[in-house]
């Protein structure tokens, strides 16, 4: 039997007041491909089709999803369908009244990013003054009774704050803190030499995480998203291509993950032209790497293929030049040297390189380059 999706990430808009240099949005987010955003009715239809297809978990993300004036309507529709809804937000200028309205509409869970443990670093990474709004919003979510996830993308310039970040989440009464080491796609790949940490930084942060997990138990769940360039084997990306997960982008293109749109050798379909179940079951992008028939060696004969599914197709495309290759992060990949070289370059550098902020003007320049 074909797998059915459990998760839908709805990227409602790519507009965002923050400018984080590791943003997972496409480099050309401000270009013509993503311009014509889905309407309220179109999103509601997508949610209905997703539920009928098997989706149970809905992430409302972006860009900044609270920029959509119809967010309450979308949450209400999703809640009525029985979807578990998570708002994934920067909390920029997010008021208690807006959150209360979202609660009334049926929102289940709020995830708020933070870029550092103090205002100075958080605002510097975000490229926008936003720390105070975030702290205020954390308190509002608790006062309104939402489960709260604090989300932090980790990189060279904030890894030293892991302990302070965990203590912050603890003091806020959060359920979870997601410590997500930067995965190198989109803007993060563009800024890779500036963002990649050293091995020593990662080792120290991991020691802190283990110690804090032992101290906190079930009071605060600490999620540690592995820095895959520094691992021996690839991540089981999305739990396998087109097995459980799909992303709908602001203008309706449907991707097997939120980075897949960069794979130029795949054809992506749009919810404006096809029903979601057809896209999931029959479209080129979803069929191409489903299962294991596509796998080359060393994956094909590897006992780990049912655990890691050959790793990440996007990484194979972006680093090794072909989405049908083994994830180059794997130590058995003939392209692992490309990962090792990127890691070694950072280890050699005395100081972190400068990054490019994620912003519309830079995006339009990159979109024009293609």
């Amino acid at each position: 039997m074909d797998p059915k999706p459990l998760w839908l990430l709805a990227e409602l808009t790519y507009k965002c007041p923050l400018q984080c240099p590791y943003c997972s949005n496409p480099l050309d987010f401000a270009g013509p491909r993503f311009k014509r955003e889905l309407s309220t009715d179109e999103w509601c239809r997508v949610f209905r089709e997703a539920k009928a297809l098997g989706v149970l978990q809905l992430g409302l993300s972006g860009g900044e999803p609270t920029l959509r004036a119809d967010l309450e309507v979308l949450v209400s529709e999703a809640h009525g369908l029985g979807l578990y809804t998570s708002l994934i937000t920067s909390a920029y200028r997010l008021t208690k009244e807006r959150l209360a309205g979202l609660k009334a509409a049926g929102l289940d869970h709020v995830q708020i990013s933070i870029q550092g443990a103090d205002a100075e670093l958080s605002d510097a990474v975000a490229g926008t003054t936003s720390y105070r709004d975030k702290i205020a919003a954390y308190h509002y979510t608790r006062e309104l009774g939402f489960p709260l996830t604090v989300n932090v993308v980790l990189h060279r310039r904030n890894l030293h704050q892991v302990e302070a970040l965990i203590r912050l989440a603890e003091s806020l009464g959060a359920e979870r803190i997601e410590l997500a080491n930067t995965q190198f796609y989109g803007w993060a790949l563009h800024n890779r030499t500036a963002l990649m940490p050293t091995r020593a930084q990662l080792d120290e942060a991991w020691r802190v995480v283990q110690r804090e997990r032992a101290r906190l138990g079930t009071r605060l769940e600490i999620v540690w998203v592995l820095p895959d360039y520094h691992e021996q084997y690839p991540k089981p990306c999305m739990g396998g291509w087109a097995r459980a997960y799909m992303t709908v982008t602001p203008a309706g293109e449907v991707w097997p993950c939120h980075a897949a749109g960069r794979i130029t050798t795949l054809t992506f379909e749009n919810v404006r032209e096809h029903p979601l179940d057809w896209i999931w079951e029959h479209s080129d992008a979803f069929q191409r790497f489903r299962g294991d028939a596509w796998m080359p060696e060393p994956c094909r004969s590897c006992p780990r293929k049912s655990q890691d599914f050959g790793g990440c197709r996007c990484q194979a495309f972006l680093v090794a030049g072909d989405a049908a290759l083994t994830d180059p992060v794997c130590s058995l990949s003939p392209h692992r040297h490309l990962i090792d070289a990127a890691v070694a370059e950072v280890e050699r550098a005395a100081e972190a390189a400068e990054w490019t902020y994620r912003a519309a003007p830079a995006s339009r320049v990159l979109a024009a380059k293609g």
Binding site: K4, L6, A52, L53, G54, L56, Q57, G82, Y84, S86, D108, H109, Q111, G145, P147, T149, E175, R176, G217, T218, E221, V223
Partner: protein
Amino acid sequence: MTAAGRATVPRLHPKARLQHDDVRGRDVLLYPEGLVALNPTGAEILGLCDGVRSVADVVAALEQRYGAPGEGVERDVTAFLDGLAAKGLVTYGS
């Protein structure tokens, strides 16, 4: 508390929600960034955890429904609830 005593009152954590999964014909427990698929017995146990019944009451209700008293039911109920408590999805109060 993360282990069920007979007199403790198990409650579903507010972050978790029971939901029927029409497509797969089963009940699931949904929570932030995750889900647990439930078998019919698990769904029934959670359905009885109303914030009033103690573990002993839940066991008694099940025994009455199925006319199968004995240590087995209590062992299964506490093991199931403790498993969810370890994930922070069930809490025990008084």
